[in-house]
């Protein structure tokens, strides 16, 4: 033994004792800190400061006293107190965690010192005797196999214990609705024979089924075939397929779709929209002249489709049963959603331009599944889509600020985009077979060559802010909110004539036979002969306010007034 070793042995017991004392002291310290933290934790979690009896008592007292200012101050004082207590206890835990960490570190260090000091040379004699034969690692092999089997077993258990009631395979397939009897999409001829969307076939505002009455009077009943009350309000216009007329209506209580008999006016069924997941719990704030049911429904002979200010989008079959429905998200715009729906073959097209972004959706009309979606860099708009034939292919044309755009309805690819529009766009575009027309108040009326994607002509007078333009027979008709009707040469943009009526127009002009039907806000329809000069054929009234657009099919005019639906004909 060297002198150094002797000296080491002399202080070893002392060092060991010091380390043990340190470890014990640190242990006691940690125990105290732990105990305090546990007590604090139990107290904090057991007594939720928000449920403080004193605070609750005072709040109740405040309610009884009718907002007594003294009690109110007491509530505030107690509230402040419980908040302070809460944050103090939180701080206590945080400081405690640091102290505990420090205590444990000291304790561990002392324990390591004790280990180092007390460490002896391993006792080789105590080790098991060396073997003279190598034992094969059979147990290890089996155990590895057991772990492998255990992993497989766990996998099987996970699969077997998958929560019942949930589709585990092909989730989307299991959610398929029961397929309807396959009915082909309507042909162009069928569309032209009906009035399937806002402003008629393809949104053209042109009736293809002959002439319509030029005189009627609701007060005397002249040429009023029937009139029917509409249960709930709505500024949407009638759509017609065969012998069915469809409308929608909504108030804070419910959203409804109505089906009327086109011949008798009988309300065949009412579908109340319900069980739409994520439908807003509260009625969205909308302006009085937009309401909760401004968008016009669309119909394709198989189903009727409707959208409301809540963003609820539903498809209902001709028997009034919901086929599919979901909430598209509550539109964010200052007046309420107003863009109407349009169908194209087996797709439902939804213009959904709001403050959160511009969108054009195409949903499978049978299932509601998204076929494609286009995000549009436009401001909120209230216009509706129309269909136009551009380069011998169908295009869906949208008007919004700042773009007039056309998309291929097959895949949503952009066909045309013209930067010319401004303001809060309400009027929908029009198409006369060659040119696209778009107009909006405080902006312009523009004629666009869709093949070139350029403006042919533009004008800045007599602009509508709600009513949509009508393009027919080489003429462009605009009806403004102040009662002015202007007629332009469609190809050159020359103003042919203007005429000022007494009341303004929200309703869009519609062409039938050789006439244009312009319904003013008082419910008087002015029938003007299509021509390069103003020629009033007559004026006819339904006797109540009207902001909707007439549907003209088979010699009948269907017009929704403030409270009733009218059928006018011979």
């Amino acid at each position: 033994m060297s002198p150094g070793d002797e000296q080491k042995n002399a202080w070893t017991p002392a060092a060991y004792g010091a380390a043990r004392a340190t470890a014990s002291g640190a242990a006691v310290f940690c125990m105290v800190v732990c105990a305090l933290m546990v007590i604090n934790h139990v107290r904090t979690t057991a007594a939720d400061p928000l449920d403080s009896p004193a605070l609750q008592r005072l709040i109740a007292q405040l309610a009884e006293s009718g907002d007594d200012p003294i009690v109110r101050e007491q509530v505030r004082a107690v509230d402040l107190l419980v908040r302070k207590a809460y944050f103090t206890s939180e701080r206590f835990q945080r400081v405690g965690a640091w102290l505990l960490g420090g205590g444990i570190a000291v304790m561990l260090a002392a324990l390591h010192v004790m280990r180092l000091i007390s460490r002896d040379v391993p006792d080789v004699m105590a080790l098991p005797a060396e073997q003279d034969t190598m034992q094969p690692p059979t147990l290890a092999r089996w155990l590895v196999a057991a772990v492998g089997l255990g992993v497989v077993t766990v996998a099987i258990v996970i699969v077997a214990r998958s929560p019942a009631g949930l589709p585990t395979d092909d989730l989307a397939a299991q959610l398929e609705r029961v397929p309807e009897t396959a009915v082909a999409a309507p042909s162009e001829a069928q569309v032209l024979d009906n009035w399937p969307s806002f402003r008629g076939p393809f949104g053209s505002a042109r009736s293809n089924t002959g002439t319509a009455p030029t005189a009627w009077d609701a007060s005397s009943g002249e040429k009023i075939l029937w009139r029917a009350s509409v249960p709930k309000p709505g500024f949407n216009s009638p759509v017609i397929w065969g012998d069915r007329v469809f409308l929608t209506g909504a108030d804070a209580a419910a959203e409804e779709i109505y089906c009327f008999d086109a011949d008798t006016g009988e309300l065949i069924w009412t579908h109340t929209v319900s069980h739409i997941p994520y439908s807003p719990a509260t009625t969205p704030a909308v302006s009085a002249d937009t309401g909760l049911a401004a968008p016009t429904a669309a119909v394709d002979g198989r189903r009727v489709y409707a959208i409301f200010a809540t963003g609820n989008l539903v498809a209902v079959d001709f028997a009034g049963n919901m086929v599919w429905g979901f909430n598209l998200g509550q539109p964010e715009n200052p007046y309420g959603h107003a863009s109407s729906l349009m169908t194209w073959e087996d797709l439902l097209l939804v213009q959904f331009d709001h403050d959160a972004g511009g969108n054009l959706y195409a949903f499978d009309s049978a299932t509601g599944r998204l076929a494609w979606h286009v995000s549009r860099d436009v401001f909120a708009s209230w216009a509706s889509p129309i269909l136009a034939q551009i380069d011998s292919g169908d295009s869906v044309v949208l008007s919004a600020s700042p773009f007039i755009e056309a998309y291929n309805p097959e895949d949503g690819s952009l066909v045309m985009s013209v930067d010319c529009m401004g303001g809060e766009v309400g009027p929908s575009p029009a198409f006369d077979g060659e040119l696209i027309f778009a107009a909006n108040a405080y902006a312009l009326v523009a004629s666009i060559d869709p093949a070139k994607g350029s403006v042919v002509w533009e004008s800045y007078d007599h602009l509508p802010d709600v009513s949509s333009p009508l393009a027919a027979d080489g003429l462009l008709w605009l009806a403004t909110s102040d009662g002015t009707v202007a007629c332009f040469d469609a190809s050159e943009g020359d103003l042919l004539w203007i005429h000022e009526f007494d009341r303004g127009f929200y309703s869009s002009p519609v062409s039938a036979g050789g006439n244009v039907y312009l319904t003013d806000r008082s419910g008087v329809t002015h029938i003007v002969r299509k021509g390069r000069e103003f020629d009033l054929v007559g004026s006819a009234s339904i006797g109540q306010a009207c902001v909707t657009t007439p549907a003209i099919v088979n010699g009948r005019v269907y017009l929704r007034g403030e409270t009733e639906l009218f059928c006018i004909g011979e």
Binding site: A27, C30, M31, C34, M37, V38, H41, T44, F87, E90, Q93, R94, G96, W98, L100, G101, I104, M107, L108, L111, H112, M114, V121, P122, V124, L127, D132, M134, Q135, P136, P137, A140, R141, L143, V144, A145, V147, G148, V151, A155, I156, I158, V159, S162, G165, P167, D170, L171, A172, L175, P277, Y278, G311, F326, N327, L328, G329, Q330, G368, L370
Partner: protein, 431 residues
């Protein structure tokens, strides 16, 4: 022993007691006007890239010094001090992130998702310890990894785990690695980070569950040295592969083994392999037959793993937010539940049709099934190869280090009389 028991009690209590301290405090605003202006919530700015590169330089430096201490100086105290420094720096100061264990996930995501770019310093954190392992063994585990360090300091009374059990338990990290790759590659998330048992200690913040899990690991770590590193860590799998090939590796003895048996129980991680007797206790034919049988079974084991992985893919896909949300929305739509979740409410607010979500979920499920099959096949290969390797006898004449299991902690050096002689060599020569 008393001290040990006290330590157990405190570590348990610390888990319970720190949990409430850890939870981020939330308290609703007063429901009346008090004139107090609620401060705008802010989030701390991320570290500047220059800082991250500095951390990378520190990592490289610590790895280099550790390699020097283990391979050249052979100095356990130095390694231990470096480990404490690393624990303080990479653990408590850097709050355990980003660590090489977690960086694997970034790298996998970078490979599987072309829209995700892995930062250079993250790639550095992933590859540096691996490259070091290929050259010098698992020096990262020995003194650099904060997760290993926090377990090492509590390893006060480690017991030796039987070799047969050690072999079996060391298969678990392969399972974790497979799951980690599957979850990351399918976009389900970074599960290794989410269930890091020690991150709550490094950050002094975490859920009560994770704090408790961490405390349990530390308590277990008193008796079973570094349980996470040996039986769970997925990065250890990669490091052990690198270490098997290492160019230089720590050895128990600086020169020759005298078979004194002093080091036999020195390694708390079971990484010291004894010399083997020359005779084998079973006929050679039996061993050959077993080897042949296992070789034939290997494709079946791989196939079984693939099938199990394929079918487990669907339920495992629930860890992905899209599938989870789709199933929740489905249950709500089908009227199976009245409860909504934050995810389903957010989905509803986004205004997308549920059918789209279901389609997305189905795609994710497909990825999980395919990924699950690959993971199962990988595990089949690993388990099959392990059983094969356990059927091949290797002759050892000396006490040797198992390169794959050795954590380069330098503990065994002090047990070797040849090492003691090396250290006192000049003095003895003087005498």
């Amino acid at each position: 022993m008393k001290g040990l028991l006290i330590a157990v009690v405190f570590l348990t209590l610390s888990g319970v007691a720190t949990a409430p301290a850890a939870g981020a405090g939330r308290y609703p605003e007063p429901d009346f006007e008090s004139g107090y202006v609620i401060p705008t919530a802010t989030t701390p700015a991320p570290n500047a890239p220059s800082w991250e590169y500095l951390h990378l330089v520190v990592l490289a430096a610590v790895l280099a010094v550790t390699a020097l201490l283990v391979l050249k100086v052979r100095y356990r105290a130095g390694v231990y001090i470096l480990m404490i420094v690393s624990l303080a720096y990479f653990g408590f100061w850097r709050q355990g992130c980003i660590c090489p264990v977690g960086s694997q996930q970034n790298v996998i995501l970078g490979i599987s998702d072309s829209s995700y770019t892995v930062p250079i310093f993250v790639i550095g954190f992933f590859f540096l310890p691996l490259v070091t392992a290929v050259f010098f063994g698992r020096v990262f585990c020995g003194a650099v990894c904060p997760l290993g360090a926090v377990q090492d300091v509590v390893a006060l009374r480690p017991v030796r785990i039987p070799e047969w059990l050690e072999h079996a338990l060391r298969m678990v990290p392969y399972v974790i690695l497979s799951l980690m790759v599957l979850f990351v590659a399918t976009g389900a998330g970074f599960i290794v980070c989410r269930y890091d048992p020690f991150i709550a200690f490094f950050r002094l913040s975490g859920s009560a569950f994770m704090v408790t899990v961490g405390a349990v690991f530390l308590i277990a770590g008193i008796f079973v040295a570094r349980p996470y590193c040996r039986f769970l860590c997925p990065y250890a799998v990669l490091l052990s592969w690198g270490s098997r090939l290492s160019w230089l590796h720590a050895t128990i003895t600086p020169d020759e083994c005298v078979k004194c048996r002093l080091c036999e129980n020195a390694c708390p991680f079971g990484a010291i392999q004894k010399p083997t007797p020359e005779r084998i206790a079973e006929p050679r034919e039996r061993g050959v037959k077993r080897l042949a049988l296992l070789s034939l079974l290997l494709p079946l084991i791989v196939a079984a793993g693939m099938v199990a992985g394929w079918y487990a893919g669907t339920p495992l896909s629930r860890a992905h937010k899209t599938v989870y949300t789709a199933e929740q929305v489905y249950m709500e739509e089908a009227g199976l539940t009245d409860q909504t979740t934050l995810e389903s409410e957010a989905f509803a607010a986004a205004g997308r049709p549920a059918a789209d979500l279901y389609e997305d979920a189905e795609q994710v499920r497909g990825r999980f099934r395919r990924g699950g099959a690959l993971a199962g096949a990988f595990l089949g290969v690993v388990f099959g190869m392990k059983m094969l390797s356990l059927s091949i006898y290797r002759q050892r004449d000396d006490y040797e280090i198992n390169k794959a299991w050795c954590l380069s902690c330098a503990r065994c050096f002090n047990y070797c009389p040849r090492e003691q002689a090396r250290r006192s060599g000049p003095r003895e020569q003087d005498e």
